[in-house]
Each structure stands twice: as C-alpha cells, then as structure tokens.
C-alpha cells in the first residue's frame, strides 16, 4: 500500500515563526497536494505539485509556500506563522496512471499557532 507520511502529528508554534511541514510518499507518485482542514470548511487546497520543482497555487495559497526538491518529498512552509493558520494540515499524493486513480492522504499535522 502507498504510504504518505507526515513528519509531525502535533505542532505548537509561536506567532511569527517560520514553520516547515514535511510530507514523504513511498510510491513514486508524480502529484502531491497540501490541504488544510477546518470545521465547516472541508478540505481547502493550498498548493500542489505535478513534478519535481514544479508547484501551482491552490485555492488559499496566501501565507504559504512549498518546496519539492525530490519526487518523494513535498514541504509546506509557513513563512511567518499567524494564529489564523491554526488548523489540521493534510498531505496527499497520487499518480494519474490507471483509470480510477485516487488520492492517498497522510494522517495529518495538527498545527497550533499561539
């Protein structure tokens, strides 16, 4: 089975800190995604990447950046954390090969900014 691993389950950071959220997948998937999940708002796409060194903005990219230097790793960066970035962050990966490809999600990182 595909495994998507997010490095931290829980993080507490201070306002203004630079925060790195790491995601690694082990199945050579081309596509990787970062979402945030908030009650009542569902899954909102922050950034995604279709290949190494490629990135595209999702629906809510403000305050975030990403890095994909290797195919298996996709990092989400909060340049200067703010309290409104307190959320659950989910990473996902997929490959367009096959007729019914689906996303595989990590277990999430719950970030609290104080």
């Amino acid at each position: 089975d595909v495994k998507v691993t997010q490095s931290s389950r829980y993080l507490v950071k201070r306002t203004g800190e630079k925060v790195f959220l790491e995601c690694v997948q082990d199945m050579d998937h081309e596509n990787m995604f970062w979402y945030r999940q908030d009650p009542g708002l569902g899954l909102r796409l922050i950034y995604f990447s279709y290949d190494v060194k490629m990135k595209e903005k999702g629906d809510i990219p403000e305050g975030y950046s990403v890095s994909r230097e290797k195919k298996e790793r996709f990092s989400l960066i909060l340049e200067s954390a703010s309290t409104n970035q307190t959320s659950m962050y989910l990473c996902a990966s997929t490959t367009p090969a096959g007729s019914l490809w689906s996303y595989t999600f990590g277990s999430g990182t719950r970030l609290t900014v104080v």
């Binding site: 569902g42 796409l45 989910l90 996303y103 999600f105 990590g106």
Partner: protein, 111 residues
C-alpha cells in the same frame, strides 16, 4: 464558486438505520465521483467511487447512486454501525485534473 455541494453538514443515525449523504455538481465534464471516509485523527481514505456511465455501484453496505440528468450523486450506508461514525467527503474530477471536494458530512451512528 463551489463546484460540489454536499449535504447535510452533519447527520445522526441510529444503529441499523440508513445513512444518506447527498452531493450536487455543476460541471458536466466531471467523469469520476469518489467518496472518502475520514476517521478522527486520520486522513481521508477512498471508500467507493463511480463513473457516470453507471447509475449505481454497491460495495458491501455502501452504495453510490448517480443521477446524471440531475447532476447529483449520493452515498447510502445500509445497516449503519457505530463504527461507520466518521466524516464523509464526496468529490469529483474531470480527466486527470485534481479532485474537487465537497465540504464534508460528519456522521454519528448511535448505538
């Protein structure tokens, strides 16, 4: 503009009952409609999916009903169990584009 509208936002069902979650979409080019299930503390996982060339797909107690003319699809959970308590997301996609998710339904099945 929300491309996939999901309802209800929350649902409480008694054990043994039928849980029904509905989704409506706008883009007639969508060609793949999956449902994801998310337990507390976990990421969403693919539950069941359907393509628009069929009207129904069943896997165990879970059934997707698809109405192409109405641009609606729904998830039915028969004989709902407390272990089915989770958040459910519908989604849609066109070709190899990224998935568009509904906002989710929190299902609680009371014993």
């Amino acid at each position: 503009q929300q491309q996939v509208k999901q309802s209800p936002q929350s649902l409480i069902v008694q054990k043994g009952g039928i849980s029904i979650i509905n989704c409506a979409y706008e883009n007639t080019a969508f060609d793949y409609f999956p449902w994801y299930q998310q337990f507390p503390g976990k990421g969403p996982a693919l539950l069941i999916a359907i393509r628009p060339d069929v009207s129904e797909k069943k896997e165990g107690r879970f059934t997707i009903s698809f109405n192409k003319s109405a641009k609606q699809f729904s998830l039915h959970i028969m004989d709902s169990q407390p272990g089915d308590s989770a958040t459910y997301f519908c989604a849609a996609r066109r070709g190899s584009e990224k998935l568009v998710f509904g906002k989710g339904t929190k299902l609680t099945v009371n014993p």
